[in-house]
Structures are given as C-alpha cells and as structure tokens.
Amino acid sequence: MSWQPSASFELIKLRAQTLKKIRHFFDDQGVLEVDTPVLSYSTIPDPFIESFQTRYLPLTQIMQNDNYYLHTSPEFPMKRLLASGSGSIYQIAKVFRQGEISAYHNPEFTLLEWYREDWDHHRLMQEVNCLLRGLLSPLIDLTNTVFISYQRVFQEQLGINPHTVSKSELIACAKKQGLADVLNEQEDNDLFLELLFSHIIQPCLGSKDSAGQKSTANKPYLCFLYHYPASQASLAKISTENDCLVAERFEIFINGIELGNGFHELNNTQEQKARFEEDNYNRKVAGQAEIPLDERFLNSLNYLPQCAGVAVGIDRLLMVMSQAKHINEVIAFPFDRA
C-alpha cells in the first residue's frame, strides 16, 4: 500500500496558491469568509445525491437525534446566514458525496461556494467568469467565454426544443445519437434530456466552438449554460421565457468538464418544501431512504434576501489548470489512499 501522496508537490503548491488567490479576490470584493457545520441532522433530499451518514454517541448530553449527515454542500447554513443579514459571503469547504469515484470524482472534495446579495444569476455569471479567467489565463490559452441557454444549445446541436419536445421526439433523437435502448420509454422526459445532455452536448461544451468559428476550434473556453428546464430547478427560482418555464440556474463547463452550478436563489419556504417533498417521494419510489427535511433551513427561506449563489469544484478547477487527466493528480491523498 502506497503511503505517499498521489499528487505532485507542484500541484499541491498550485492548490495552496489558488486558494490564496481566491481569498484575495473575495477580500477585495468585500465578501465575508464564513465557516458552517459539516455535520447536520438533515441533508439534501435530491435522489441523485447520496450523503454519508454517521452517529452521535452521547458522552455528556443526549440529543434528540443521533443520525448525522456529512454535508454535500454548505448551501443550507450559508443561506441561513444570508437570511440573518450577513450580506455577501463565501466559503471554501470540504464536502462529501457517497459513492462517487471516477477520473473526475472523489467522494470527499473541495467546493468554493459563494452568495451575492441583491444580484441575479446573470450578474453572478459575470463574476464567476472574472474569477475563473483570472485563475486559468496565466496557465492555459483561453478563448472568449460563451454564454448560451440550455434551449439554444439543444436546438443547435440536436435540433430539438428541450422545453416543448415530446417523448417520441426524444426517443427518436436518442436513437439517432446511438443511445437507443439506454432508457425505457416510460422514463420521464428529464431523464432523456439528461442522457442526451451528458453524452452528446456536454463533451463539446468549452472545447469546440459551438458558434462555428474555425480559427478558434479546439481551444478551451469557459461556457456558461443557463436557464435549465423548470423541472431541473433544484433550489433556483423559476421564471417564464418565450412562454416556457425555465429555472434560473446555470452551470459552468470547460473542455467538456462540469466546473460548477449556480442559482438565482429561491426564497420561498412553501415552494422549496414542496420540491423537497417531491424529491423524497421519488426517493421512496426508487427504494432510497427518505431524508428528514431541514426545518431550520426551510423556515429561514422566507427571510432570504434576493441573491444568487454558485458552487465551483476546486479539484476540477485544479485539473483544468494543470491539464491533469485524473482527479487523483490534484489531491494529495484521494479516497483510496485516505
């Protein structure tokens, strides 16, 4: 068994320098660094995210609850701080997601998460672009950033409108793309969109020029994809665009790699609770354990000011900066050496 780090000291130093630059960036902007709990009695009920669980064993004080989850993002307590009047805040946190190991996943990873009071997602995308370009440009040759809607990218690459497409068109499209029979026909439209997105669209985001400018082909660029279908809103506000409901949510890609996810944050307790209950219903149907809802978070949401927030994966960012092929190259002791 190897006891030595899988990352080179060059990349261990790059991590340290990058974290220092990030803190400097937010210091300059007057954004406050905060620290919130890793352990909580609740977690996100999203059926596609599994949390690690652990037990509280009372030595001095019995608690109502003894089952605790390791957070998958510091989102809930950070929003409670915003609802309490903190103003814009950021955090660099270790987060945990059960079962996720691949060239781009380590079950324990580092997230940079920040919230901007009074901003919407469009303004936040500009700031994310500014921070990421500042970090990436000295190391890799970036071409112009692209901002494109989820609808436009589907129309350009697959010729379908993701907000109005029918199930039979989705099945035909998957077949045409060599993805026939992956999903059965009863699966809902979102699953077909996710299949087409992750297999056909995402690999092109941030590397090939979707605008068709041949001179810049294959140079990496930051790609911001915004306005996901309302059914994929998660914790984002929903608005109407061209008679379709869209989630005010964006994701960031480069070289086909997902770097982050942002929202114009939903601040309505009832609506968020309804979405969580639907998540729990879907977990139950799929045979997954239901999650006790975070009542403290839900109760704070009606007090959450207008704000936009984003989470960026630091390990993946370091991979892009160093052109690493595997996440283990940028983590000193990944899961199999931890």
Binding site: F48, S102, V182, D190, E194, L195, F197, H199, Q232, S234
Partner: protein
C-alpha cells in the same frame, strides 16, 4: 441467472450483450452534479472481437457471461480442430478455427495457452506472451554481422513470418513476443 450491477463494472468483466459474450474494455462514469448518473462502457465482443460502446443508467443490472480463462496445453491439430488438454485432469477440449483465429501462427505442440471458455466451449485461444520457435527458412546469414542493425524476414516452424537480424540462420531457435509479433533474442538453453 447471475447479473452484475453497474457499480461492479470494471475492465475485464464479462457480460452477455445482445446474446453474445463480451468483455468490458473501459468503464467511464458520467455523473453530473445534479441528475442521473450513467455508466458508459466500451466492450469487446468475444466472438467477433469488435469493440462497441454501450450506455447504462447507473444502478441497472446486466446479465453476466459464463466466461473463464483456463491454462491448457496444446496437443495437436487434426486438420479441422485444435486439441488442448488440462495438465492436471487430462481432460481434452477441441477448438475450431474461429476460436483459434490468428493464434494459429504461434501454436506449438506442448506449449501452454490460455483458452477462453464460454459455457464450457472454447471462444478464443491466447498464446503465451513468449514462444520459442525454430527458423525453417530465411536468407543466408551475413558473416560477422552481430550488430542487428538491418533485418530480414524469417519463416518459423509454425508458418509465422517475423523480421529477424541478418545473422540469424535456418535451424536456429528464436524467442518471439507473440503480442507484438517481434523477434526478442536467440533462445538460450
């Protein structure tokens, strides 16, 4: 029926796909921050050798293929079939031409080979990484040339033709790497 879940996928795992036994060459996990995860695999069809891509929703199960590799001794060829024997049980198994395939040119009697069995029947034969074969035909050697700078073709006892150094003569035993079809050295006793 044995099955494997997508979280057991790894290269070398044998699955039944479209009625044919296949081996996973590469397993890639596609897991977005939000949304459904998929396993995208490259698989080699063990009957045809063709490599194709397949995608599965993570969490699904796929039928396992009863495929196993056994080390058997090559005995002889009767004109139609190639006969192998288990060295401990003396059990004999015959493989046809489609199973032996390209390996024909490396098969020397009494060598140990890896025979891939599907439901007990030979599917493929893999020769040892290195075989020792006698040169049956090559141009005359050049005296004094031991540099190995140039090369010439030589026919071996199994019919295989490999590039060898100029100093190699008919009747010599050569060590050959079957994976690259390349000459390694003269066989040492």
């Amino acid at each position: 029926m044995a099955t494997y879940s997508t979280n057991e996928f790894r290269s070398g795992l044998k699955l039944m796909i479209d009625g044919d036994p296949c081996s996973i060459v590469e397993n890639e996990v596609v897991k977005p921050g939000k949304g459904q995860a998929f396993n995208r695999i490259k698989i080699r069809n063990l009957k045809t050798g063709r490599v194709v891509e397949r995608t599965y929703k993570s969490g699904e199960s796929v039928e396992a293929a009863d495929v196993m590799d056994t080390d058997l001794q090559y005995l002889y060829n009767d004109g139609e079939q190639w006969h192998f024997m288990h060295p401990d049980t003396y059990e004999q198994i015959a493989a046809d031409k489609s199973a032996v395939g390209e390996t024909i040119k490396w098969l020397k009697e009494q060598d140990m080979c890896t025979v891939t069995l599907w439901n007990g029947n030979p599917l493929a034969v893999t020769p040892p990484n290195f075989v020792v074969l006698t040169v049956t035909d090559t141009d005359p050697g050049l005296k004094g040339d031991t540099s190995g700078g140039g090369g010439k073709p030589a026919t071996l006892e199994t019919g295989a033709v490999v590039q060898v150094p100029l100093f190699i003569a008919i009747g010599e035993e050569l060590k050959i790497d079957t994976r690259t079809s390349k000459y390694v050295s003269r066989a040492k006793d």
